[in-house]
Symmetry: C2
Subunit: 904 residues, 2 copies
């Protein structure tokens, strides 16, 4: 028996269900599920993704049995709906849509009204009694079929110019003009008949053959077109960006047409079961009376908020609310639905999770609300809260912690649109996706301004800080994509008028040209001229609730990297349980200190060096006091000076140019002599590969005075703060250890200083000495090193650099991004920990370290400490904590909870 | 019962033997052994190293029982020799000498003639009937005892100025002058008596107490002085340089004095049982009639070649030859002996292995000769040859492969001395060890020229290319030390006259000033003005024999790193079994090619780049043809381009200075414009850390044209050479792979090129594709990588850099040498493989690689491939071969044999 490729839905039951996503695609699986739970779904059938995969693997041919199964299901469909494809009296019209296992909104193609030809047109007129409607449907079908199915992909060898939508719209516009019609609806049946005739003529002229009139051939061509659309450029680009595998394939959904454009008791709409922007518990969406679905999605006509439906068709509205509630209860998630009302009857055309296109703030609120409503699980405490945690992805928290416009900023907005994706963004105005991509890649901050956006604009979103559109609301393409990416977006801002040719937009008298700076506030929908002050995001009550649940579940500690007292305070507010990395050299870089630091480095005598260090000591002591006070007894890991000393000196090339100029212009001056002295000093300290040079503990071994001063400052600060009554737990971290003897020597030297200070002050401090594990040799010999260390902290930035032999500064632009694009590396290893390479070293080091020192405290302080996938790895290898930037602490708390839930 | 600390030897048997080296020191153990095998050794006793260790561990006190044991043995000694310490009629005189477990020639102190005072002097006169001799002995004793035992170490708190040898020699000189004596021997007994009196007066004035006259006190003070000399600065420095542990301690040898200065039928000498310079089977040394041993060793008087002894005392000479043969047969090694003839009777004072002070050439010849003579083992084939292999250390071969003066050079030598240590050296003349050290460290080539050398000069040997002395022969201090270090040395060149104050030496009319360049030929003893052409060393027949034995034993292959045909030829001559690394970029650096390479790098268009590559192709093809022909069918591993491209462009800083100058001096010129263009190009390619940047296979992935050209050149060359009838086995090595996908992508691309060329040429080549394992990630994921690689080659230079996180260029001067000095690292990991860190990665990679690809060929091509300790590691982890520079191939062959013999 041939394999089953086609799954029927209709007549109250379906062969598929929501669990069959990878076989039937998201849309097909959900159509089947909705059918099964009794919702009004127009009947149809789904051709599985396996058929698509076979199609690609066998030179674009169908698998054996597929033709027959399609025919069988078509017959069944005709029986269920009581109509026949191409029938002159009661014709069946269908839509043909793609549907991939992973949502790829707008990336692939759709054909509506399929089955129309000169005969079935008569049947449609007979059935609807509406000649104008029938011709309008026919016109649309010819246009869409030509564009989607037959014109082929641009830049591909089978591309046929002249069959695009635009060519047919031009014909319509000509007829409109001839008839003196203003709106589409002003064109009567005769006009539309003329459009149809001229469209068919145009088609034959371009294509060399008449428009295909056999409905079965139409169906076969449309099915193939959907298969092919899986590999169009847009879809491939999307998959690459989203890391979706190329071999999943798409399903094809063939479904009975229902018509929202059959008069005022018809209509169509899209809705979210809760507000996707705020999470508010209220059905949210848009509705357009007497229209087909494509009109709404494409934003061609302006839809109205969905609650206005209550006035025009209250019964159907109530039915819709009931459906929404049923769907949420069934799916335990916010749903994003499409529906059509045909002559007062509600049909569900799609449902899918609303999460991918909701803001982070909304997802968090919905998860918490649904848990507390008992909607996720009746056992709220034991299971509901855990399900809520798993509903929220770390990036949702990331997005909601973006900066916001400062509410105290007294700026007047120049316009207001729909608050489509929250957060504030400032940048130079650009008017094309290409410009946004190019300038964004070059490091410029830009705001992409478009009348509306289409899937062809998506590459520009990545380069832009935010998006501003003139047309479309919270469910428009721009809004969906921006929310998915966490980019601020103000949509449907119809007060602005865009002139793409002149590269400017106007609001009344105000002209905003390309390159002018604007700010947008996606949280409120406001648009401002210039740069507006922003503030850090605040935690919402729901987020605090959710993270308190996370803390009950997670086993990893979450610490923060903080160099200053205000960072430490912020970290605590965000729930950090310690400071995992305080970089002392940042303190050296401050403008009032740099001259002293330079004096210390360039000192000719011991005395000069000590004099400079004596002046730095009180400054460093104050830094540490501030941090200890802020952390109120939580552990603070302080890393001793790490970078090579030449980083504190003037730039070599600059000095070289200046000295060369002076040699010519002012030879023999003291100015030249001093410049040359400095140049010489810098040259003597220059290194071929500073990353691998005289830095970290190597500095401390060659020039011990600096770290002795630092440890003195730490312990003096600790004693003072402890005397104030605040508990302190400093942990001294010695960087770049590669051989245990380095640690032994430095620790011995510094512990002497520590003990001396405690003796001087008469205060006893609970302290630790430990090391970064950031070069492979340290990881390989961790068993030895752990005998001398109280803690390890994986410095995965440097560990990744040395394990890969890659200098991040040099690599990212020059080849690393290309590696990721070409699939040579699965991801940028500086963002997501390379578990198969670097991870092996970490695992070895943790095991060997714990074996020789069971009390060893082990954490991570590289950037990976804030990356969810890396956090899960850290949980699995049994680290004690992860440490990340303060703003990633909430994300890490959730990720740590996820890790605990997924790895019980 | 108290522990035994004192070991007696004498009267035909000894309590110790040669195996008790660490307890009795080398000298003591061999004195015991010689006694036991019946050689004429003056009786005595040895105080063990354990007594010395106790002495240091317990605040310079003796262990319990030592005093008593010394007294006991002294009494025994008095009985055996029939003399009494301090006796007025028949006094016992003894020497007190140090003797460490590991030879530290000249580093510690010796006292002769101990036991003399005003009473025993009379006994000596009575016994010898030679008043002059007795006073001369007394004079020498006072001088030596004051200097060695009582003056203390310079720079130490117990240093007493005025007690040094020099002060007493001044007294002797004054008396000589007063008496009008020319030579020491011209001073008669009365004169010597005056010297003794004045010396004692001088002593009392300086020391505040009279010269110690109690022989037992003399003995105690001398014993302590030997203990203390273990920790004098010279000895400590020597141990640091030679990596000898500080806690071994020295033994003290107290031995009956015999006198070589008792007339013309007395004498003293030092000898090697074979020629330590050439290895010739012939007793070799110096003899001085009527003299004490110190005169020979210190080179104070010029000794005569030992065979002249035959004329003056033929019987004793024959006895000496017999002793030498007996010693060789007993020790199975060349021996370095000291002997004294007292009134026609031969006494052996010392024997030790002559290997440490023999040339490499000699050691090799001696090992081969002794094996074939059956002296090492009667079973020559099975055991003798293996023992010969173990007799020779890799550094012996290293030394003998130093460069030699070109025999075709028609230079006239300006002087000729003793060919004390072979090899040629050229450099600027310096006259002090300090200068040699300082300038040598700064990278300058210098020749150290001294009248003679002492242990205080040894630090200068390290900095010098070679050593030239005016006094002393093949057994002088300079000769011994130079041979031990493998530095060329011409000794006893008495034609030169050195003026240390004027910093110059003269030979007749020729004046050579400090800084002038000279060349010395330690192989022939010649000295030249200026730089003389040298040639590579040749293999001696004995070395070829030895290495053929090595090849029968070793299991590791020995390949060579060679970039040019002549290197490849040389490598084959030295026994290389393949080329393990042919660096293609060296070919790019040649002056005629660099402009084309730069054109290729700076190309603006594909076409320009291809045009440059098209011109490089035939050049590279010729390179490879030469190498393939030279290797005659042995495998050749060719590494594709590795360094970052900016290495082929002009120096950035130079360009920046030139452009800055032109901006001021010639603004607006095309010259400036071109300079700026080049500067911009170089700047765009500059990297923060080029070691970790765009190089290796990364280059190939970003700019595939270069490596495609290289592979085309390799395969075109291979096809042509194979067509000529020479077998070829190219192995393409892809550098810097960190992720298997890099190798997959590059291999796929290049294998396409290879197949295309073979098709074009109609020739089938046996080839391999493989990778360097030179970054930690490659080693960590070797199991995956081996699935795509036919071979691994460990690039341990880069692997060490990345595993340690150390840039060799930056580190060696800035901190690595300090690390080794301070003992933080046991050795420079770039010279000797770090087995506990880098070695772990290698072991992991070999195991995982072989597991997933059992046919994997695994080798090493870093510098460690020529380092004996690292080679042993490579043997143990099971590599297939090591690859090193051609000149290290013979060394590696021996080291590989050693590894096999030691790790059966």
């Amino acid at each position: 028996m041939a394999k089953k490729y086609v799954y029927f839905f209709g007549g109250g039951k379906a062969e598929g269900n929501a669990g069959m996503r990878s076989l039937l695609g998201g849309k097909g699986a959900n159509l089947a599920e909705m059918t099964n739970i009794g919702l009004p779904v127009p009947p149809g059938y789904t051709i599985s993704t396996e058929a698509c995969k076979f199609y690609y693997e066998h030179g674009e041919t169908y698998p054996p049995g597929l033709e027959e199964q399609i025919e069988e299901n078509l017959t069944k469909l005709e029986t269920v709906v009581g109509k026949k494809l191409g029938d002159i009296e009661n014709p069946l019209l269908v839509s043909v849509r793609s549907g991939a296992p992973i949502s790829m909104p707008g990336m692939m193609d759709t054909v509506l009204n399929l089955g129309l030809n000169d005969q079935s047109l008569q049947g449609l007129i007979y059935q609807t009694g509406d000649e104008r409607f029938a011709y309008d449907s026919y016109r649309r079908f010819i246009m869409m079929f030509s564009d989607v199915v037959l014109s082929g992909e641009k830049n591909s060898p089978d591309y046929r110019p002249g069959l695009e939508r635009l060519a047919f719209e031009k014909i319509f516009d000509e007829v409109k003009k001839k008839m003196g019609a203003k709106e589409d609806t002003d064109v009567d049946a005769n006009g539309l008949k003329e459009v149809v005739e001229r469209s068919k003529e145009h088609f034959e002229k371009q294509y060399g053959k008449p428009f295909p009139s056999d409905p079965r051939e139409q169906l076969r061509l449309a099915t193939n077109a959907v298969f092919k659309s899986w590999n169009n450029k847009r879809a491939c680009d999307f998959r690459r960006i989203k890391n979706i595998p190329d071999d999943l394939g798409t399903a094809v959904n063939v479904q009975t047409m229902v018509f929202g454009n059959m008069g005022e008791n018809s209509g169509t709409g899209v809705a979210f079961t809760r507000d996707p922007s705020t999470g508010q518990k209220k059905v949210y969406g848009n509705f357009l009376a007497n229209a087909q679905g494509e009109d709404v999605v494409a934003g061609i006509r302006q839809a109205v908020p969905i609650d206005q439906m209550q006035e025009v068709m209250p019964g159907v509205y109530q039915q819709l609310l009931d459906v929404c509630h049923l769907l949420e209860k069934h799916y335990k998630d916010i749903q994003d639905i499409e529906f059509t009302i045909e002559k007062g009857k509600l049909y569900m055309l799609q449902c899918r999770s609303g999460k991918p296109t909701a803001t982070g703030q909304a997802v968090v609120k919905i998860a918490v609300d649904m848990a507390l409503e008992g909607l996720l699980d009746e056992n709220i405490e034991e299971k509901g809260k855990k399900k809520a945690l798993l509903m929220v992805e770390p990036q949702h928290i990331d997005h909601m912690l973006h900066r916001q416009i400062d509410p105290r900023a007294e700026a007047e907005p120049i316009a207001k649109g729909v608050n489509a994706s929250s957060g504030a963004a400032t940048g130079a105005v650009v008017f094309s996706a290409d410009d946004a991509e190019r300038r964004g890649k070059a490091g410029e901050k830009v705001i992409l301004v478009r009348p509306e956006t289409t899937p062809d604009d998506v590459h520009g979103f990545y380069g832009a800080q935010g998006i501003l559109t003139q047309i479309g609301g919270a469910t428009s393409h721009a809004a969906l994509v921006a929310r998915g990416m966490g980019k601020p977006c103000v949509a449907g801002c119809d007060q602005i008028s865009i002139d793409l040719e002149a590269k400017q937009f106007t609001i009344g008298d105000i002209i905003v040209k390309e390159g002018d700076i604007i700010s947008i506030d996606g949280t409120t929908g406001r648009v401002f001229l210039g740069e507006i002050p922003t503030i850090e995001a605040q935690m919402t009550p729901e987020l605090q609730t959710l993270l308190s649940w996370a803390d009950q579940v997670k086993r990893l500690g979450v610490w923060a990297n903080a160099d200053y007292p205000h960072d430490a305070t912020r970290a605590r507010e965000f729930g950090a349980q310690g400071i995992g990395l305080c970089r002392t050299e940042h303190m050296f870089m401050e403008t009032d200190r740099l001259p002293i630091v330079q004096e210390m480095i360039l000192a000719k005598t011991e005395q000069q060096r000590h004099s400079a260090l004596d002046r730095l000591l009180p400054l460093q002591r104050e830094d540490f006091k501030g941090i200890f006070r802020a952390m109120k007894g939580l552990p603070v890991i302080i890393r001793l000076i790490d970078p090579p000393l030449h980083e504190f000196l003037p730039d070599h090339d600059q000095l070289l140019v200046e000295a060369t100029e002076l040699r010519i212009k002012s030879p023999g001056t003291t100015q030249l002599a001093e410049k040359e002295k400095m140049l010489q000093a810098v040259e003597s300290m220059r290194e071929q590969n500073p990353m691998l040079g005289l830095r970290g503990c190597r500095l401390g071994l060659v020039m011990p005075e600096i770290i002795e001063m630092q440890v003195r400052a730490i312990f003096e600060a600790a004693c003072e703060v402890k005397t104030e009554g605040v508990d302190v737990h400093p942990e001294i971290m010695i960087p770049l250890v590669g051989h245990v003897n380095e640690l032994k020597a430095v620790r011995q030297q510094l512990e002497g200083v520590a003990k001396k200070v405690m003796e001087e002050q008469g205060v006893d401090i609970d302290y630790k000495f430990g090391t970064m594990i950031e070069i492979p040799r340290a990881a390989l010999t961790a068993g030895e090193i752990a005998k001398t260390a109280d803690f390890f902290s994986f410095g995965t930035n440097d560990l990744t650099q040395t394990t890969f032999g890659i200098s991040r500064d040099d690599a990212e632009a020059k080849f690393l991004m290309k590696y990721v694009e070409k699939g040579i590396l699965p991801a940028n290893p500086f963002q997501t920990l390379d578990q198969t390479g670097v991870g092996v070293l970490i695992r070895m080091a943790v095991e060997a370290g714990r074996q020789s020192n069971p009390n060893l405290e082990v954490g991570i302080c590289g950037e990976h400490g804030g990356d969810p996938a890396s956090i899960e790895f850290c949980h699995r290898v049994g680290l004690n904590y992860v440490s990340c930037s303060p703003y990633r602490v909430p994300i890490a708390r959730l990720a740590a909870a996820h890790a605990a839930l997924k790895n019980h």
